[in-house]
């Protein structure tokens, strides 16, 4: 009995200790996975004691989680739409929203693919049966793709072939495994799997692919969160983003 009590006290103490350190929770778009992990490690080195934990997913579900009360301090989105949603739900700390990076949309195919796809117009070919993209309802890369295909008057032809991914990284995985003929991802994602996918073309987008970051008003570590957001915008943060192929905001 005594042992049990001691055990409970020890566990509670350990939990308390973990909670009292400045633990910043960052919800970030899936395309930022590699770059943000490195930025997080660099930030932790410069701010001893602070811990950064990441929650990577498509931008829209991240907004939904925050809206439902997830304890998030910083939100980085892959498009302005998702950040606008967060803004309209009054989740953002006033004045904290800033653009921090840019990217481009690319059409990719498995490295070993033999289909003669040279651009988005070739997706109309009957031989092309499966094209992956993010779900336009919840994934920014899907929205960029849909708008670009609509503008090129190709959406009606490509939509029946669409395999929706729950994030840009799922679409990337489908192409890398060769389960689809082609797919739409960001240039930075394609670069992560250079040994498995090839970039066919850069796809012009209606609105530029720009990434906003903001501090969450109700975040448990708002001050530290602000510090992390500033670090992403600083020259050190920007250098890491550039290393992974992201453009200036």
């Amino acid at each position: 009995m005594r042992g049990l009590k001691l055990g409970v006290v020890a566990v509670l103490a350990a939990m308390g200790a973990a909670a009292s350190a400045a633990e910043i929770t960052v919800s970030a778009a899936a395309s930022l996975t590699n770059a943000f992990k490195e930025i997080g490690a660099a930030y932790e080195k410069e701010h001893a004691g602070d811990k950064v934990q990441f929650n990577f997913a498509a931008s829209d579900p991240l907004v939904q989680q925050i809206a439902k009360g997830a304890p998030v301090d910083v939100f980085a989105s892959a498009d302005q739409d998702a950040m606008d949603k967060a803004d309209s739900l009054k989740l953002l700390a006033a004045g904290s929203r800033k653009n921090f990076a840019s990217n481009s949309l690319v059409l990719i195919a498995p490295l070993a693919a033999t289909l003669p796809i040279k651009g988005i117009a070739d997706l109309q070919q009957a031989a092309v049966t499966r094209v992956t993209m993010g779900n336009p309802a919840s994934v920014p890369v899907g929205r960029y793709t849909k708008h670009a295909l609509e503008q090129a008057k190709l959406w009606a032809a490509v939509e029946p072939k669409a395999i929706y991914g729950t994030s840009v990284r799922q679409s990337l995985d489908y192409v890398a495994r060769g389960e689809v003929d082609a797919g739409f991802v960001y240039a930075t994602d394609a670069a992560v799997m250079k040994d498995k996918v090839k970039v066919i073309a850069t796809v012009p987008t209606e609105t530029p692919v720009s990434y906003p970051i903001a501090v969450i008003a109700a975040g448990p570590q708002a001050a530290a969160g602000r510090q992390f957001a500033d670090y992403v915008l600083s020259s050190s943060g920007q250098a890491i983003l550039a290393k992974y192929g992201f453009g200036r905001p």
């Binding site: 779900n135 309802a137 729950t166 389960e179």
Partner: protein, 228 residues
């Protein structure tokens, strides 16, 4: 009425029912055969086979989904063979969803069938055999009728489990509205996109279907306490 039935929620429900029916049918055939084998035949590695076949019950659906993706994917051993021999591509089809659901729910039929067959008095089977009925006839006319409640209970549970399959299905069948987007995946997509109204409707439908199936399964499983 037509427009009502064309709502995405009902399309997803119809697809889920279709997938669950096929998966349950597959499970019933293989579950009864293997359940009988495990209950009646003595052979080396019997318990190991039972354990292997029960694995899907305890393994995370994502692990099963990954196994399936590796095996039946375009470059998987089975997937590549099917593609070259028959031109069949399973990934991202509703048939892939059937396979995923069938694998995940299989142990429920197997366990129910094995337990049910083990409770059947072998003397009755012997008597039937003495009266000149063929072995398959004995199975159909004596063993199965005596074990059917247990088999059916497990089958209904498998149906309910198939209806709710998510992880493995998403990995091998994807989420294509009207083609592979089952109820549980439609719920996930609706929540991701912040469409709470759609999510509420879908969740309600799913809950009602599951409750109906569970009540039916309880009614059919052998009553352990007849006095109560």
């Amino acid at each position: 009425m037509d427009s009502f039935l064309a709502e995405p929620a009902w399309i997803a429900l119809r697809l889920s029912l279709k997938v669950a029916c096929w998966a349950t049918l597959l499970d019933l055939v293989f579950g009864v055969a293997l359940g009988y084998l495990l209950a009646r035949k003595r052979f080396p590695g019997r318990e190991l086979l039972d354990a292997l076949l029960t694995l899907p019950m305890v393994m995370p659906p994502t692990v099963l989904g990954y196994y399936l993706l590796v095996v039946i994917g375009r470059h998987g051993p089975l997937g590549a063979w099917l593609q070259q021999t028959f031109g069949i591509n399973l990934i991202f089809t509703w048939q892939a969803a059937v396979i995923a659901a069938a694998v995940v729910a299989f142990p429920l039929v197997l366990k129910g069938a094995r337990a049910a067959f083990e409770t059947v008095d072998t003397q009755l089977e012997q008597a039937a055999k003495v009266l000149g009925i063929s072995p398959f006839g004995v199975f159909l006319r004596v063993t199965l009728p005596l074990a059917w409640r247990g088999v059916l209970g497990g089958t209904l549970l498998a149906f309910a489990r198939s209806m709710g399959e998510f992880g493995a299905t998403l990995m091998v069948a994807g989420s294509i509205p009207g083609k592979t987007q089952t109820l549980s995946i439609a719920v996930y997509e609706a929540v991701q996109a912040g469409q709470d109204d759609t999510a509420n409707l879908l969740v309600l439908i799913t809950s009602v279907v599951c409750i109906v199936v569970l009540v039916a399964a309880n009614k059919l499983t052998p009553n352990r306490n007849p006095q109560a």
